[in-house]
């Protein structure tokens, strides 16, 4: 069993929303850790050893034990360090938190990403429509609440860091209006509050380098068209 005193290492990539989720969770729990920036174009031996199945970041290594998949890692962090709970204690509320976190992964991340980084126009439009539909569900879920977790950050807020930081970034690159205050007032408001939360602020990557990186990708994609 991993004791709270054992060494914690996070293998990550600064532009990754999934890595950011883990950073937020670790910061929320006030856990000290060593961060290793991976070059995803040239993955380290360590990464391949610790995540042979997916070969992706984030990977958390606690003691000698590796963990992969951001939401799995966040739940592990919540169960290992008991301060500032990330998941609620009630089983039904926990089920809702897990449902919406998975929803973000299944229905928002892919569709919104493909709304930008797809060359085929028809395919892109299909993804835009799907992204809008999914964001509407999230809009209806946040309503007037300060955070998805209530007064404090919870699992869904952490999962939704992609929505708060990455969607505005990539939509700017593409000149697309996906998440706006007109279309999704509650979600937009939540996003603003979220990125300014002290814990989140310290965990987000600096915007310009990430913007530059994805803009380069975008231009490269369309240049070869």
């Amino acid at each position: 069993m991993g004791s709270s005193q054992e060494e914690v290492t996070l293998l990550g990539a600064s532009g990754s929303p999934f890595v950011c989720r883990v950073k937020i969770a670790l910061k929320l729990k006030d856990v000290e850790y060593k961060y290793v920036e991976e070059n995803l174009g040239n993955k380290s031996e360590q990464l391949l050893k610790y995540n042979p199945v997916h070969k992706k970041v984030p990977v958390l290594v606690h003691g000698e034990k590796p963990l992969a998949e951001s939401l799995v890692i966040v739940e592990y962090i919540d169960e290992t360090w008991n301060n500032n709970p990330i998941l609620p204690s009630d089983p039904y509320q926990r089920a809702l938190a897990r449902f919406w976190s998975k929803f973000i992964d299944d229905k928002i991340v892919g569709a919104s990403w493909k709304s930008v980084f797809t060359v085929d126009e028809k395919e892109r439009e299909k993804n835009v429509a799907e992204a809008y539909e999914s964001l509407q569900f999230l809009e209806n879920e946040i309503k007037e609440k300060k955070f998805f977790g209530g007064e404090e950050l919870g699992l869904v807020d952490i999962a939704a860091v992609y929505v708060a930081f990455w969607i505005p970034l990539i939509q700017e690159i593409a000149g697309l209006e996906l998440l706006t205050s007109e279309k999704f007032p509650n979600l937009y408001r939540w996003g603003q509050e979220f990125v300014n939360h002290p814990i989140v602020k310290e965990s987000l990557p600096p915007r310009d380098p990430v913007f530059g990186f994805f803009k380069g990708r975008y231009e490269g994609l369309f240049a070869s068209k």
Binding site: M1, L67, A68, V72, T80, P91, F99, F103, F137
Partner: protein, 220 residues
């Protein structure tokens, strides 16, 4: 917690639905099972799962829980009196969740593409499926169950797909037992449990369903 108000919206050939049935059986929970017609979904289903409009949905005391592994975790947490499905150690729990997620991302799709596909595409998916099953077989190792000595979460996540093996083998012209003997032995071991045997349809029934499905959708 009272067992009196538990309803499962299900579609009998669904491996996802079977997962929930196994979990409910493991906990000894009595429930009402309502079969859905996926081509004419009930208003109850649409009301209880407006986001995905899919089964399984567990309705407990009028409150819906959706997504099969989410439901399994809920069942494990709401009924703690027996048959713990997830281990108590956080690291072992994280591994169980990791493999549950892996199964979700890889098995269903590969299974479907093999039994409903043909030609080159089918051949590709056969390779994918075997690769995926071999990886799971590696993870199982020489343990009795994925969780170790006790049947648990990952076993629940995977075993329903074994009711589809006969269908996959027949349409795909392959032998899963030849490729993954340890996994097939594990499946047989699981089937010796009453909770599993009573929750899975007979492979022949699944085959008949698949045959009918292919006929209706012109997928000969």
């Amino acid at each position: 917690m009272a067992d009196s108000n538990v309803v499962l919206l299900d579609f009998w050939p669904s491996s996802y639905g079977m997962r929930v049935k196994i979990a409910l059986a493991e906990k000894g929970i009595s429930y009402e099972c309502k079969q859905e017609d996926l081509e004419a979904k009930s208003s109850l289903l649409l009301e209880m799962n407006p986001v995905h409009k899919m089964i399984p949905v567990l309705i407990h005391n009028a409150k819906p829980i959706c997504e099969s592994l989410n439901i399994v975790q809920y069942i494990d947490e709401a009924w703690k009196h027996k048959s713990s499905l997830l281990p108590s150690d956080p690291y072992k729990r994280s591994q169980a969740r990791f493999w549950g997620d892996y199964i979700d991302k890889n098995v269903y799709n590969a299974v479907k593409r093999v039994w409903s596909g043909k030609g080159k595409e089918q051949e590709e998916w056969k390779k994918e499926l075997i690769e995926c099953l071999k990886r799971l077989e590696d993870e199982l190792g020489d343990k009795a169950y994925f969780g170790g000595e006790e049947f648990g979460y990952v076993d629940v996540a995977l075993v329903p797909f074994t009711s589809w093996f006969y269908t996959v083998e027949t349409f795909g012209k392959l032998s899963i037992e030849d490729e993954c003997p340890t996994l097939v032995a594990w499946a047989k071991r699981c089937m010796q449990k009453e909770t599993v045997a009573s929750s899975l349809p007979h492979p022949e029934q699944i085959y008949a369903f698949a045959l009918q499905y292919k006929h209706r959708h012109g997928l000969q």
